[in-house]
């Protein structure tokens, strides 16, 4: 595994529109820094995230994927994040079988009021992924032309 200080991980963050995306906006409003390696995709609810999206990201070369939703009990759609939690628990239990370190994915609950938590979570996640290094184990599956 390459140990390279210059390594910039590719990280995809799925954020639900109501809590976590707003939390990410709040992190911006508060100028709470986190690395530019994190790119956010807005989804209406964490339950919109198909486990396939996460696998697709890994397949296309993402080094880490994080899913953020409303806190349990606070889902804008009442129960969406419970579905997300179950689906992700299921997915995570299979990741090592697929050849992905399970530390490369995570579910975090970030409310619209938790800008600081969003930034702290991203900083910590980027650090974890940077330490893990490049996601090489799925290289064979990548659709490289």
């Amino acid at each position: 595994m390459q140990i390279n200080n210059e390594f910039k991980p590719k990280i995809v963050a799925f954020c639900c529109n109501w809590c976590s995306y707003a939390g990410a906006d709040l992190a911006g409003t508060n100028r709470a820094n986190y690395p530019a390696d994190v790119k956010i995709i807005r989804v209406p609810c964490s339950c919109r995230v198909n486990p396939m999206f996460i696998l697709r990201a890994f397949q296309r070369g993402a080094d880490g994927v994080i899913l953020c939703g409303c806190h349990p009990g606070d889902c804008h759609y009442t129960t969406g994040n419970y579905y997300a939690r179950r689906r992700m628990t299921m997915l995570f239990s299979m990741l090592s079988y697929l050849g992905i370190e399970k530390e490369r994915t995570r579910v975090e609950w970030v409310s619209a009021a938790e800008g600081a938590k969003f930034a702290a979570t991203m900083n910590e996640f980027v650090e974890t992924i940077t330490n893990l290094g490049e996601n090489k184990r799925l290289e064979d599956l990548r659709c490289k032309k």
């Binding site: 990410a24 409003t29 530019a36 790119k39 009990g73 759609y77 579905y83």
Partner: protein, 663 residues
């Protein structure tokens, strides 16, 4: 491939400061689909919007990407812009390069690179956007106000004034709320009942207002403009239509030892009771938990005495279901329980009271009929110590972290009252800070100090110890003179923090409205939409949104009412078109989607897929009710055959974004 236009906003220096906007526009301009790309200082300005409109026409754009602030801020603005230029408003995507890029990254190279990636993701997504048309749903011209305190009363009166029907649901037997218990209101010291009870009467007499007292909201379904609410009307064992409020039952009821809620348990009431003289509706209630008839089956005195024949022991809870266009939460507050603060000896001495209890002692219809007396021996206290911030601004985890806002003012009011009515009383107030931001508030507080000679001491009380002679030994520190104080007090009053009513959280769950960590309802925008909940059609009034005093509550109630009136004045509302749709060719009618749908938006239909006349093929397929679907997408992931997709956030669109980011 669609013809895409890219518009990069500088947002003054907000974006341009850490993102090279020219480079972003130039790089994105080289993307295969992009036929036009530009940048402008303020895209949301009229001039900026005109650039978009002209480019759509000139370059025959089929999709627009605006790289600017969060879509939560200006997506709606730009949708209107592209619509004005003749493009479907949903052929627009916003790349968030301000909140999620320029504001968090200090390095310009990194910021620019990220902005380009976010732009590419938006371009990839907009390629797959489909033109969507928002449906319309009718508006039920009736509002529901949950909570009948001053916030709910004012909201209901204002809505009714505009000519719309309003229902008030109040869990207590009477409307009025906390304000009925208060003696005088700061800073003008006018009598609380004198200003509130006329409003209560107005509510009862207004033909547009229906009061459901002793009732609670049981379930809420539906959406903005068309909520359906189940209300449980608790059995009061008195027929509201027959009871004249004569009070015979409440006088003759033999059960006399029930703690009186109106006086916070400081005296007793009968099992049959009317909470207070000015109650609205002025109808008795039988407290089944304490009534002899219900406990032993023997009594029935009130039924025999009631000349109106209103007593009905067989009455049961009834559930009514009503339709509403808008719902206002006005659930109010309660003081926190101060039992846990052992150092203040609240549970050890009757003479340590909370401020609301003190208010009851001062009020003419309270347990002492308005005479300042100790609850233990009925003697007039000579030394009173007020302790502020009991549970407020408390970061220890024991109380509340926030400032309860009203305590400084009511403590000044109480202190002033004691000195005015009983000039021989020594009054001490221990405070952390005195906060008096409000019109004529600081003058009021200064009057307490300068004119009435109340001793304000900056410092916290460490311990209150009840002594054998009935006095309370107060040990405190004066932070300014830095000395320990020992005061022998006759009465200690705790300014307990206020917290949202316990009913607020289950209600928020029913309304799918969001709450903060303190169980206050969250506004749609802290500054610009302070009386709306993020859930469309749900509005906030009073302390349920955050601590506030009466003038602020009334102002907010009026604001919430005007928002409700604005909503009810519309005949139709346009729906969110980003809803699920089922691909009938792929659906096998397995019901998985309907089982995960929190709104019951999915039903099944038998559809005829027969191609030839001889062979019939009828299959059961899912059908989404677009007016009910809220677009969460739970069904899209649950569907085992991949037949469900979410418009505006389709699987292919999200996959395209993933690909663009990981490229």
């Amino acid at each position: 491939m669609r013809r895409i236009g890219v518009f990069v906003c500088h947002c003054g220096t907000n974006i341009a400061g850490t993102v090279d906007v020219k480079a972003v526009a130039e790089t994105l301009g080289k993307e295969p689909a992009v036929v036009f790309s530009t940048d402008y200082p303020y895209m949301c300005s009229e001039a900026g919007q005109n650039i978009i409109k002209e480019a759509i026409k000139e370059h025959k754009l089929e999709g627009v990407v605006v790289c600017s602030c969060s879509p939560r801020m200006h997506e709606a603005t730009f949708r209107k812009t592209v619509q004005a230029a003749g493009l479907n408003p949903y052929l627009l995507e916003v790349a968030n390069i301000r909140e999620q890029c320029s504001w968090i990254h200090k390095d310009k190279t990194e910021g620019t690179a990220k902005a380009i990636v976010l732009g590419r993701a938006a371009i990839a997504k907009v390629q797959l956007n489909t033109p969507l048309i928002a449906g319309e749903s009718p508006v039920v011209k009736r509002a529901l106000v949950i909570g009948g305190g001053i916030a709910g009363i004012q909201t209901a009166l204002d809505i009714a004034d505009a000519g719309y029907e309003v229902d008030i649901v109040e869990k207590q037997p009477t409307i009025g709320g906390k304000m009925t218990q208060i003696d005088k209101t700061f800073p003008t010291l006018d009598c609380s009942s004198c200003i509130l009870t006329p409003k209560m009467v107005d509510c009862a007499q207004n033909e547009k207002i229906t009061i459901y007292s002793y009732s609670e909201v049981e379930a809420v379904t539906g959406f903005v403009g068309n909520f359906s609410v189940k209300i449980r009307r608790k059995a009061r064992y008195v027929d509201e239509t027959k009871c004249t409020g004569c009070g015979v039952c409440t006088e003759k009821c033999p059960v006399k030892n029930v703690p009186n809620e109106y006086n916070l348990g400081m005296d007793n009431r009968h099992a049959a009771y009317i909470p207070f003289a000015q109650a609205i509706p002025n109808v008795a209630v039988i407290d089944a938990a304490h009534c002899n008839k219900f406990k032993t089956g023997k009594c029935g005195l009130c039924q025999k005495l009631c000349s109106a024949g209103a007593i009905n022991y067989e009455q049961e809870d009834t559930i009514i279901e009503e339709k509403y266009g808008a719902i206002v939460a006005a659930t109010g507050y309660n003081p926190i329980s101060v039992d846990k603060y052992d150092e203040f000896a609240y549970s050890q001495s009757k003479d340590v009271v909370t401020s609301l209890e003190f208010e009851r002692i001062l009020k003419a219809d309270g347990p002492t009929e308005g005479h300042l007396q100790r609850m233990s021996d009925g003697k007039q206290p000579k030394t009173i110590v007020f302790i502020q911030c009991v549970g407020s601004r408390d970061t220890s985890g024991c109380g509340k972290e926030y400032c309860s806002k009203i305590c400084c003012m009511y403590t000044a009011k109480h202190a002033m009252y004691c000195r005015e009515k009983y000039p021989d009383t020594e009054v001490y107030v221990f405070y952390i800070d005195v906060r008096t931001p409000g019109k004529n508030y600081d003058e009021f507080y200064r009057r307490a100090v300068e004119q009435y000679g109340v001793h304000y001491i900056k410092g916290m009380v460490g311990k209150v110890s009840p002594k054998a002679d009935g006095t309370l030994h107060v040990q405190a520190s004066d932070l300014i003179s830095n000395e320990q104080l020992h005061i022998s007090a006759d009465m200690v009053v705790l300014a307990a923090a206020i917290e949202p009513d316990k009913s607020a959280r289950p209600l928020a769950t029913m309304l799918t409205a969001s709450m903060d960590t303190n169980d206050f309802f969250t506004e749609a925008h802290a500054k610009l939409r302070p009386v709306e909940s993020p859930t469309a059609g749900v509005f906030l009034s009073g302390v349920c949104q955050g601590p506030k005093d009466i003038p602020e509550t009334v102002a907010q109630a009026g604001a919430a009412a005007s928002k409700v009136i604005g909503l009810l004045a519309k005949n139709k509302l346009s729906c969110n078109p980003c809803v699920s749709q089922s691909n009938e060719a792929m659906c096998n009618g397995c019901s998985t989607c309907a089982n995960v749908c929190p709104y019951g938006a999915i039903t099944y239909e038998d559809k005829d897929f027969s191609r030839r006349k001889d062979g019939s093929m009828i299959r059961r397929v899912a059908v989404v009710n677009e007016a009910v679907c809220q677009g969460c997408g739970a069904c899209t992931v649950a569907c085992p055959s991949g037949a469900m997709d979410l418009k505006g956030f389709s699987t292919s669109q999200i996959m395209a974004e993933v690909d663009a980011i990981c490229k």
